[in-house]
């Protein structure tokens, strides 16, 4: 067992890239962010408290880098549609299930803050508290961002149409109950 927490960095790379890609929606920008984050994490490792959540710490560095670049650029970098929606392979969807491409197209239309909150809580499984700390905001702010993000996606995907929800719901349940082992 090594006591250098930096040895752990490599384990977090896939999550760090996924988070970066969700936030920037652009593969090249995302990878630059990951690179900056690694360099910063490496040289500032003394500010990491061993035993705390390293992933959250890395995400914090990454998002701070992203938002400070965004501020410098003076606007949201929005070549959104491209890489995020197209670079990832499309899995065949069976009837009714939301097409992943539709979902991605809707997802990239959320604000940066909404995407970030939703990914941390909804996909990465952070507690509201961890997400709030990662983003440097109050827990209530994270909750409301997540709620707004879901509501906006619901609108964009027309889940307010009962038939759409019914269909996607059936397919989703099939995924949840069928494909996933009951590990939890």
């Amino acid at each position: 067992m090594s006591d250098d927490p930096r040895d752990e960095l490599v384990e977090h790379l896939p999550a760090l890239r996924a988070f970066a890609l969700s936030l920037t929606r652009n593969g090249a920008v995302a990878d630059d962010m990951v690179q900056d984050t690694l360099v910063k994490a490496w040289s500032n490792i003394s500010s990491f408290e061993p035993g705390t959540n390293m992933r959250a710490w890395l995400f914090t560095i990454l998002r701070n880098t992203y938002y400070s670049n965004r501020r410098k650029a003076g606007r949201e970098v929005s070549d959104a549609e491209g890489v995020f929606t197209e670079s990832l392979s499309e899995k065949p969807a069976h009837d009714g299930r939301l097409q992943m491409a539709d979902f991605r197209r809707a997802f990239v239309q959320l604000t940066d803050e909404q995407r970030e909150a939703l990914i941390l809580v909804g996909a990465q499984g952070f507690s509201y508290e961890d997400a709030a700390e990662t983003c440097g905001v109050a827990v209530g702010t994270i909750k409301s961002r997540v709620n707004r993000a879901r509501a906006r996606l619901g609108e964009l995907l027309k889940l307010d149409d009962d038939d759409n929800l019914e269909m996607t719901d059936q397919a989703t349940m099939a995924v949840v109950t069928g494909a996933r082992p009951a590990a939890r």
Binding site: P14, R17, G122, D169, V176
Partner: protein
């Protein structure tokens, strides 16, 4: 805030799709440039404390 079964269902559909999108991203192979970078940072540190090792 009208919290209904409907909203729960909608959130469930959204989160399920979200996790699939995220999982696709997690499954992507990490480019070598990051592993190289870590190796490079490590060897710089080693050079700082001791001399020798990898020339680069």
């Amino acid at each position: 805030m009208g919290h209904t079964r409907r909203n729960d269902k909608e959130a469930e559909v959204i989160d399920e799709n979200l996790r699939r999108v995220y999982q696709d991203m997690l499954d992507e192979k990490v480019p070598d440039r990051f592993l190289d970078l870590i190796a490079q940072l490590k060897s710089q540190d080693d050079d700082g404390s001791a001399t020798g090792g990898d020339a680069k």
